[in-house]
């Protein structure tokens, strides 16, 4: 029997809010799917479109970026940049032919353990329903039209 599809989800979490929210989900023993791999960044503003594109190129089925709510940024306005960049990169991957629902931007505070678990559950199920991400891998065969 074939193994059911388990999506690989990469999450960039800001240290002050969303990573703390993820920790709180743990303290509260909230259960969520184990498909997510977390990269801790100091501010969601550290996440560049390069990182998101790179993650998809390397085979992520979904990418989550989570930061403090607008106005709550530990660095005052870092997440304004996140909002701008991520909104743009989502539209860009849509135009490139990627389902934009494979990307998600969320604001999760340090008190929102419940929200974190919900977001992970919901996003994992969403990505699972979309199936494996199409390969971004270039192949010369395609180029030659074979």
């Amino acid at each position: 029997m074939q193994n059911p599809f388990e999506p690989k989800i990469l999450a960039f979490l800001c240290n002050w809010c969303s990573y703390a929210g993820a920790d709180l989900a743990g303290v509260s023993r909230l259960q969520y799917p184990p498909n997510i791999r977390v990269v801790r960044v100091m501010c969601s503003g550290t996440v560049s479109p390069h990182h998101v594109i790179h993650a998809f190129q390397r085979g992520a089925d979904g990418v989550l970026v989570a930061g403090c709510h607008i106005g709550d940024c530990h660095y005052l306005k870092g997440n304004y940049m996140t909002l701008k960049r991520m909104k743009f990169v989502q539209e860009l991957i849509r135009f490139a032919g990627y389902n934009p629902e494979r990307f998600r931007l969320e604001w999760i505070s340090s008190a929102e353990g419940v929200k974190f678990a919900e977001v992970v559950r919901d996003f994992t199920e969403k990505v699972r329903s979309l199936g494996p991400a199409p390969s971004f891998e270039a192949s010369p065969r395609l180029a030659m039209g074979l």
Partner: protein, 66 residues
């Protein structure tokens, strides 16, 4: 008139007792510790944070109180 009540001793004790671990007590303690005084911060409950830690959001920016 100004500082009329201040009768500074020439060799005072370089420590301060801060009563209350709410937002005001914590700020006073931090400022003093950062300016070279030893601080005793006392709080009657088991954690600092006071009333502000019970708030959901704060006015007028809707910032998360936590």
């Amino acid at each position: 008139m100004v500082n009329a009540t201040r009768t500074a001793s020439s060799n005072p004790i370089g420590s301060v007792l801060v009563v209350g671990g709410g937002i005001a007590g914590v700020q006073a303690a931090l400022d003093l510790a950062d300016t070279g005084y030893f601080v005793h911060l006392i709080e009657k409950t088991s954690a600092i944070g006071g009333a502000m830690s019970m708030l959901d959001k704060t006015f007028p920016t809707d910032d998360c109180a936590m």
